[in-house]
Amino acid sequence: MTDHAASLRQRLRFIRDRLATALISACGIGVIGAVLAIGVFLAVEVAPLFVAPEVREQSTDGAPLPALASLPTDSLSAAGEQQQWQADGRELVVFQRTSSGLELAGRVEAVPPSRRITALAALQGGRALLIGDDGGGVQRWVTLADQDLPVPAGHYQALGSAPIRQLIALPDRQALALNEANQLGLYQAISGLRWQGQAPSGEALGWDDQGDLWWGTAEAASRLEIDAEHAEVSWRSVWLPQHYEGHAAPQQRWQTSVSDSRDEPRYGLAPLAWGTLKAAAYALLVAIPLALGAAVHTACFMSAGLRTRIKPTLELMEALPGVVLGFIAGLVLAPWVERHLPGVLALLLVLPLGMLSGGALWACCSARWRQRLPLSWAGLWLMPWLALLAALALWLSPSLERWWFDGDMRSWLALQLGLDYASRNAMIVGLAMGLAVMPTIYALAEDALSGVPKSLAEGAAAMGATRWQALWKVVLPAASPGIFAALMIGAGRAVGETMIVLMATGNTAVMTASPFDGLRSLSANIAIELPEAALGGTHYRLLFLSALLLFVFTFCVNTLAEVVRGRLRRRYQRLGGPT
C-alpha cells in the first residue's frame, strides 16, 4: 500500500519535472525567438520598398464603363505650374505663365540632332516634365526657380526603339509611356524605368472617380492596376546623388517634411549615413585616446588599491543617461564653447602638454616628492594640475582671440578657412558622445589588458624592460584582439546613440567633414520623423530601413567583437592566465 503511494508520488514528481522543463523550454525559446525576431520583423517591413513595380490589366467582366475624366488629347504640349511647354521638332518651346497670359520664355533643343520630340507630359507638381522622342528615349527636365528655361535632369533607360506615342502622368511623379510598338513602360521621376511590358489592346481612355486608369476600347475596357507604391525608391536612388526638382545638378538630400504634394520628397539616405558615421568618428576620436590611455594606466601602472576604486567609478559613467549628456552638450556646452572657442581649441594642445609637463616636473622633483606622488597615483594627483592648466587656457581665451584671430575667431574661421561655425556641431557631439562611449571601451580594454597573464610582463621586466616597454612590446600585442573588440563595441554604441546626437547637433542633413558643421544621424532622424510618418508609406518604410541598417551594423560589429573576445579568452587560458 505504502509502496504504491510512494511510486505514485514518484511518478507525480517526474511528471511535474517534465512539465516544468517543458514550460521553461517553451518560455525560453519563445523569449529568445521574440528577441531575435526584431531583425526579421524590420526586414519584413522594409521588403515592400524593393518589390518591383508592376502594371496589370484587371478584367472587369463586362461591367459597364464608368464615367471617365478624359486624358489630355494633345501629346505635344504640357502645362506645368508656372510654365507651358510645346514640342516643335527637336526643340522645346517654353512659355512663362504671367498675370497677363502666356509669354514666350525661349526655345531649347531637347533631343539629339537626328530625333524629334513625340510626346510631353508634366509630372505631378508641375515642376518637371517628361520628354519622349521618336527613338524611344524618355528624359526628364526640371524647372529652376531663377531661370526661364528648364534644364535636363537625366535620360532614362529607353522604352524599346519605337517612337514614344504618349506619356500619361500618374500620381507620385510617375508616368506611363506608350510607344508605337505598343509597349508600355512605367517611369518614375527619380528611379527611372521601373516596369515595361506589352500594352493591352486599345488605348488609354481616362480616369474613373477612384483615380484608376482605364484602357481599351469603348466596347471592351479594363482597369489598369498600377502597383507601384514605393516606385520612387530603389537601392540606387537611395544612395546615389539624384537630380531633384529645383536643382541644377544632382544632389544628395534627405528632405521629407514637404508641406504639400507639389514639393518632391527627397529620399537620399547618404547624408544621414554620413552624419551617423561622422558623429561616431568624432566621438571615437575623443573616446579612443582617453579610454585606451586610461585602460593602460589602470591595468599596468595604477596601484591595486586605487584600481578597485577608480575602475568602477569610470565604468559608472556608462550609466549616465544619454538625455542628460545631450542636454549638457546642447544647452550648456554648445553656447559655452561658442563663446570660448579659442580657449577650447587651446585645451586640445594644453592638456596633453600638461600631462607631459607633469611627468617632466615629476622627474625633476626630489626623491621624497616622487615617493609622495608616485606614478601609480598619478591618475589622482594630475587632476588639480590639469584643472589649473585648463582654467588658465580658458582665462586666456579672450586674449588669444584678440591676438591671433582679430577678436572674433568665428569670423576668422569663415574668412581664412571658409568654415562656417554652427553652434551645435560635430565637435560638440564628439565631446559628449565621446564621454558616453569612453566607459564602454575603457571597461573592455581594461579587462583585456589586465587579463594578460602576469608572467609575460614579469618576464619582460626581468629582462630589464621598463613597465612601458613591457606593456608596448609584450602586453599590448597579447591583448590587441581584446582592444580591437573594445573599439568595435564602442563604435557600435556610437553609431546607435540617439539622444545625444539629437540634442547636440542642429539635425541638419549636410554632408561635410568639418567639425564645426551640424549633422543629422540615422537614429536621430528616426526619433524625429517616425512618429509623424504615415503607416506603411514610403517614408515610414525608409525609416524602418534606417533602423534595419543600424541593427545589422551593430549586430555584425558586436558579433565580430564577441568572436574575437572568445578567441582571446581561450588564448589566455592556453598561456596559463588567471582566468
Binding site: I24, M302, L320, M355, L356, M383, G496, L530, L535
Partner: protein
C-alpha cells in the same frame, strides 16, 4: 642625485587620461548638482540704479564676458509690464546697487514671478490701514495661513462630497435617486462656491520698483518670499520647501515652472511594469539557455546573438515596438474590442503598456546575460550532488541552482532598471507625452490605465530644454530634473555593483 629611469612620455599621457576622465566626470556631476540644487535657493534680490537714472529690482544671474565688457543677466519678473522676465545689463552702467530687506518675490499662478514691494493689503476691496512693516507681514502671513486652510477644506470637499456624487450620477438610472443625488450635488457645489468666495476675500497690493501697482488676489499667490530679510535657517527651510514642491507638484506654465511629480510617477510606474514583465521571462530564458538546452553549436550561436542584442541601439527597439506593439497588436486590439471609439485609437497609439513592453524587450538581454553569468558560476558538482541524491531537475533548480543564482538575477534586474530609467529614444516612439497631468493610476476602474500616455523624467528634460519658449526659465528646471534622474540611476547602479561584489566574494569562497 641619481636620475631615476622614467617610463617615458606615453606613461604620463596614459596617467593624464585617467585624470582627465575623472575630471570630466567630476565637473559634470558638480555642474548638475550645483545648478540643480541652486534652483531652489532663495537668492538675494537687488535694487539697481543705472546711469540713465532708471531703476529696477531683480535677482542677478550669470555673467558673460565679451569684447565690450561684462554683461549680467537679471531675472526681473513682472512680465506683464516688461514683456520679458529677463534683462541683460552691462555691469559698467550700474550706478548703485542696494539690497532692501523689504523686496519680495511672489510666485504667481499666472504671469510668472513678481519682484517688488508689498504696499498694502485689501479685504473685500477695502484697504487695511497697517503702516508698520512688521505688522503688515504678520497680517499677510495670517491671511496666507487662512487661505491654505480654506483651500484644504475646499479640496477635501471636492474629493469627498462632489466627485463621488458625480460618479454615482453618471451610473445611476433610477429617477428618484437621481433627483436626490442632483440635489445633494447642488448643495455640495454651493458649499464649494461659498468657500471659494471666502478665499477671494483678500488681496495683496504689490508695487514694483518702477512704480507700477497691482492688486493681486491672495489666491493667485503660490509662494511669497522676502529673501533679503531671511536668516540662513529660514533660507534653508525655504529651499527644502521649494525642493519638496518640485518633487510633489505638476508642471505649470507650459512645463517651464512647477514640479515634475507626474514625470517621476510615470518613470517609476513604467520601470515597475517593465520589471514585472522582464524578470520572469528573462530568468526563464536564461535558465533554459544554461540548464536545459543542449550545449551545442546552436546554443552558443543563440548566446552570442542574445549578448549582441544588448548592443543594438535602443531606437531600433523603439521602431520595433511602434511597428509590432502599437500598430500591429494595438491596432488589432482596437478593431476587436474598442471599435466603437475608432477612428480615435485606444491601444493603437503609444501608451504605458507598449512602452513598458518595449523597454522589457530592450532590457531582456541584460537580464539574460547577468543571470546566465550567475548560473555559469555555480560549480557543476552542486548540481551533480543534488541529482545524485535523487532530486529531479526541477527540484535541483528550485532548491540548489536558483537560490545560488539569486543575487546574480537581482544584479541583472537592477542593471536593467537602471538602463530602462535612462532610456528616452524608444519612448519617443511608443507613448511618452509632453504633458500628461492625469497620472495613469487613479480611482476609476480599472485603476491602472495601461493605454494612457505618460510623462517621463528623461523626456521631460528633452522637451523642456529644447521645446519650451523661455529657455532661461526652463534651464534651472532641466538641471534639477537631470540631477534627479542621474541620482536615481547612480543609486541603482551602485546597488548593482555592491551586489555583484558581494556575490563574487561569496562564490569566490566556494571550492571549484
Amino acid at each position: 642625485m641619481r636620475r631615476v629611469r622614467g617610463e617615458g612620455p606615453w606613461a604620463w599621457l596614459a596617467a593624464g587620461s585617467v585624470a582627465l576622465s575623472l575630471l570630466l566626470l567630476v565637473a559634470l556631476l558638480a555642474l548638475l548638482a550645483g545648478r540643480g540644487l541652486a534652483h531652489f535657493w532663495p537668492g538675494e534680490l537687488v535694487q539697481i540704479e543705472l546711469d540713465d537714472g532708471s531703476r529696477f529690482a531683480a535677482r542677478p544671474g550669470r555673467e558673460e564676458r565679451s569684447a565690450e565688457g561684462v554683461e549680467r543677466l537679471y531675472h526681473t519678473g513682472n512680465r506683464e509690464w516688461l514683456g520679458t522676465p529677463w534683462r541683460w545689463v552691462e555691469v559698467a552702467r550700474i550706478v548703485e546697487q542696494r539690497r532692501p530687506a523689504e523686496l519680495v518675490i511672489v510666485e504667481r499662478r499666472r504671469w510668472g514671478d513678481f519682484i517688488g514691494r508689498v504696499a498694502g493689503l485689501e479685504e473685500d476691496g477695502v484697504a487695511l490701514d497697517i503702516d508698520d512693516e512688521a505688522a503688515r507681514w504678520t497680517a499677510l502671513d495670517e491671511r496666507l495661513g487662512r487661505l491654505a486652510r480654506l483651500r484644504e477644506a475646499r479640496d477635501a470637499l471636492r474629493q469627498q462630497e462632489v466627485m463621488p456624487r458625480v460618479r454615482a450620477l453618471a451610473a445611476e438610472q433610477d429617477v428618484a435617486s437621481r433627483a436626490r443625488l442632483e440635489d445633494e450635488l447642488a448643495a455640495a457645489n454651493a458649499e464649494v462656491l461659498a468657500l471659494q468666495a471666502r478665499m477671494a476675500r483678500d488681496r495683496v497690493v504689490l508695487e514694483s520698483v518702477e512704480g507700477e501697482r497691482l492688486a493681486l488676489p491672495l489666491e493667485e499667490v503660490l509662494a511669497l518670499q522676502r529673501p533679503n530679510a531671511m536668516s540662513l535657517p529660514a533660507k534653508l527651510g525655504a529651499w527644502g520647501e521649494r525642493a519638496w514642491r518640485f518633487l510633489s507638484e505638476g508642471p505649470r506654465a507650459a512645463n517651464t515652472a512647477g514640479g515634475v511629480w507626474p514625470a517621476i510617477f510615470g518613470t517609476v510606474l513604467l520601470v515597475l511594469l517593465m520589471s514585472l514583465l522582464v524578470a520572469p521571462f528573462g530568468v526563464l530564458a536564461a535558465i533554459y539557455l544554461n540548464e536545459i538546452a543542449h550545449q551545442g553549436r546552436l546554443t552558443r550561436l543563440v548566446r552570442i546573438s542574445v549578448r549582441n542584442l544588448a548592443g543594438v541601439p535602443s531606437i531600433v527597439y523603439g521602431v520595433f515596438g511602434l511597428g509590432v506593439f502599437v500598430y500591429g497588436i494595438g491596432g488589432s486590439l482596437d478593431e476587436w474590442f474598442f471599435s466603437e471609439q475608432l477612428p480615435s485609437p485606444t491601444f493603437g497609439t503609444g501608451g504605458l503598456l507598449w512602452a513598458s513592453l518595449t523597454l522589457a524587450l530592450l532590457t531582456l538581454p541584460v537580464v539574460i546575460v547577468a543571470t546566465e553569468e550567475g548560473l555559469a558560476r555555480i560549480p557543476d558538482h552542486q548540481r551533480e550532488g543534488a541529482l545524485a541524491l535523487g532530486a529531479t531537475r526541477l527540484e535541483t533548480l528550485r532548491r540548489v541552482v536558483v537560490p545560488m543564482a539569486l543575487p546574480a538575477m537581482l544584479t541583472g534586474m537592477i542593471l536593467a532598471v537602471a538602463r530602462a530609467a535612462g532610456e528616452v529614444a524608444p519612448l519617443m516612439l511608443v507613448g511618452v507625452a509632453k504633458l500628461a497631468p492625469q497620472v495613469p493610476v487613479d480611482g476609476e476602474f480599472p485603476f491602472l490605465h495601461l493605454e494612457r500616455k505618460f510623462m517621463h523624467l528623461g523626456y521631460h528634460i528633452f522637451d523642456v530644454g529644447f521645446h519650451s519658449g523661455d529657455v532661461e526659465a526652463a534651464l534651472p528646471l532641466v538641471y534639477a530634473t537631470a540631477l534627479l534622474l542621474v541620482m536615481v540611476i547612480l543609486v541603482l547602479n551602485l546597488t548593482a555593483i555592491f551586489l555583484r561584489h558581494h556575490l563574487k566574494a561569496r562564490h569566490g569562497a566556494l571550492p571549484r
